[in-house]
Symmetry: C2
Subunit: 385 residues, 2 copies
């Protein structure tokens, strides 16, 4: 396989884009990524786009064809990839393979979701499609409810507290307040999180990521071509994906995501690295408990010690392993299909040293962790400056 | 890139499966493909699944995660790919790249759609997502209407007649009557087609492919491993994809699909072959006019001569280039996301010499042509015995 690098990255602001459509968002992010790479559309050989539920959210499928057209990229092939909330990382992974295989040289990868044009109830029903609709959601479970079950079990087994969960939200809002692309650019106090409205005990509204519009884009090239485009290509040194049962009730454990553990192990092996080699990570904090579980699944902290580590500040910007410098899904926002690509954008900026206001010192190796639904799909990428 | 071969193929019956769900269909097709390959699930390294509109049709997204679970394949990665009616071929193409790149060895590829549980009107609205919803379908265009525009223009420019269109349906029903997996296993007369109910002038109901449930599966392996599984692996010697504008009104021509022409040229170049080297083809006859256009776009007949060629029987089982030996979308049925994979299954059976009742003599090279929507995506694969 050929070595693959990121030569361009860009994203829209994340938030409520009531005056822009799905197409506008992707074109905006795509052009930013191309501009960043200093490349014009006629150099692009293929594309991948991650989006979860455009069919239900805006009535439009065939997103690859649509975007080839609206990006002015006809006749190059663009392919849509879907894996619920992990759709963006799956698109990145297909782009990685297309370049690694030698099938294509310059590949653009995008992620997008336009979610705020429907009611919150309608969007929640649609997002239920990320879980086992027939055996979970149609029977009354909700996604906050599913993650609340994980939280309660984690609390029972390891003594994780509501304060520990809340500390992830407080930290992510602190980071988001330093990211001009974030949906929520304001800090939160521990008390605000703990006293916010209960959604699914023990998760409060401020433990949950929001509904968001947004898009992000990345341009990939073989490493031996990458340096002709940019002085600092970011190499993707590992791409791994794993699966688990789609319904929570079939899992062997509720306190970890087996798919994430396996994807992480596979990725570390591919990169010939261990968790202690990672300088920063973007992880899938759809709920605060998800971040606590993620930092354990990724091997940054032993099982059961994610909560105390978060409360003690070990995952802050100046902590031993900074997590979600972008603000994460919680504060940067979670336009579902865009999230995985946004994670790659943030890591790229950090490894280039241009993450203004939230830059990590000596960042050379970054990791992204993106989860579909409650963990039936997990994708881990490792990046090197 | 490594050479890639098909070592197993299988499909469900196509038709109205009121007593089976989406999950049952995929598991059925997947197990048939694995059984055909003589392989157990623990040998599979990864999977791809093509489905267009599961979110809208059955409320379920995250199809990769779902199927890894229901196929008993956890924790291997399975990824959903979508490109409207070309979703199946896009899944095959991603599987091809995953093996070609060296990322994975044994890869299962599936296609599925469960369509008959909703009303015809609801399904038609959902299928509109294959076109430009905002600028075509939401404004009143229908898919039969869009293809009728192509038909009328083809008739005006080249003198194509309604009989020529109908001849494709008559031929495909003849073939379908010889395929035990086909939705319609009965022959039609020219008169039956010509006097059937008008849908969008000049297309009648018997010029249109039906709404169908079904699934199909393929198992891929590197050619240097393939012979340890089967005496006759079918090599995929070309995989090409191209795009065009999503809306018909932006096209340079209505009488050909530019994306299909480009994908075909790319595929012939990759295989170092020309149209005259192809022994048989499965093409995307969502409407009869689509088959006439396809056999021209693929270079089997000069522009404008597809209609007369069809009427003269040149595309029949014993003609100079047999087209849609399976019965095509018209008679075999069109479970949208499954169609591209079904085409690969039919070509595999023909190249192995086991297409009972409809076997082509001396079939060594086959081609499949799969189109998304009205032509914004086209995918061409070439296969060698």
């Amino acid at each position: 396989m050929r070595r693959v690098g990121i030569i361009g990255a860009g994203m829209t602001n994340f938030g409520e884009h009531w005056e822009e459509g799905f197409r506008d968002l992707v074109v905006d992010a795509g052009l930013k990524a191309l501009t960043d790479a200093g490349i014009s559309g006629d150099r692009i050989d293929a594309g991948y786009i991650g989006t979860m539920a455009s069919g239900s959210l805006i009535g439009q499928e065939h997103i690859g064809g649509l975007l080839a057209d609206y990006m002015g990229l006809n006749p190059i092939p663009i392919t849509r990839v879907e894996g619920a909330c992990a759709s963006g990382s799956l698109a990145l992974r297909q782009g990685f393979m297309a370049v690694a295989s030698g099938m294509h040289d310059i590949v653009v990868v995008g992620g997008v979701e336009k979610m705020t044009d429907l009611s919150v109830n309608a969007v929640s029903d649609i997002l239920g499609g990320a879980g086992d609709q027939e055996w979970e959601l149609f029977l009354g479970a909700t996604f906050p409810g599913i993650y609340a079950l994980m939280a309660r079990r984690h609390m029972q087994e390891f003594g994780t507290t509501e304060e520990m969960l809340a500390s992830a939200a407080v930290k992510n809002h602190y980071n988001g307040a330093r990211n001009k692309y974030a949906q929520f650019q304001r800090e939160l106090t521990m008390e605000q999180v703990l006293t916010s409205k209960m959604i699914a005990d023990p998760l409060k509204i401020l433990d949950c990521s929001p509904i968001t519009d947004g898009a992000a884009g990345i341009v990939l090239a073989p490493m031996d071509m990458a340096e002709s485009f940019t002085k600092k290509p970011i190499e993707i040194i590992a791409s791994a994906q794993a699966s688990d049962t789609i319904a929570l009730h079939s899992r062997q454990t509720l306190t970890g995501l087996k798919a994430a553990e396996i994807a992480a192990k596979t990725a570390y092996k591919m990169a010939n690295l261990s968790p202690k080699d990672i300088n920063l990570a973007e992880v899938h904090d759809c709920f605060t408990i998800a971040e606590i579980i993620a930092i354990e699944d990724l091997g940054f902290f032993p099982k059961g010690e994610g909560g105390p580590a978060s409360l003690e500040g070990k995952t802050k910007l100046d902590g031993e392993i900074p997590i979600n410098t972008s603000g994460g899904l919680k504060a940067c926002g979670h336009p579902v299909g865009a999230t995985g690509v946004k994670q790659a954008v943030e890591i790229t900026w950090q490894l280039r040293g241009i993450a203004e206001g939230r830059q990590i010192k000596d960042a050379n190796i970054g990791l992204s962790h993106n989860v579909g639904g409650s963990g039936a799909t997990a994708v881990v990428h490792i990046y090197k400056a």
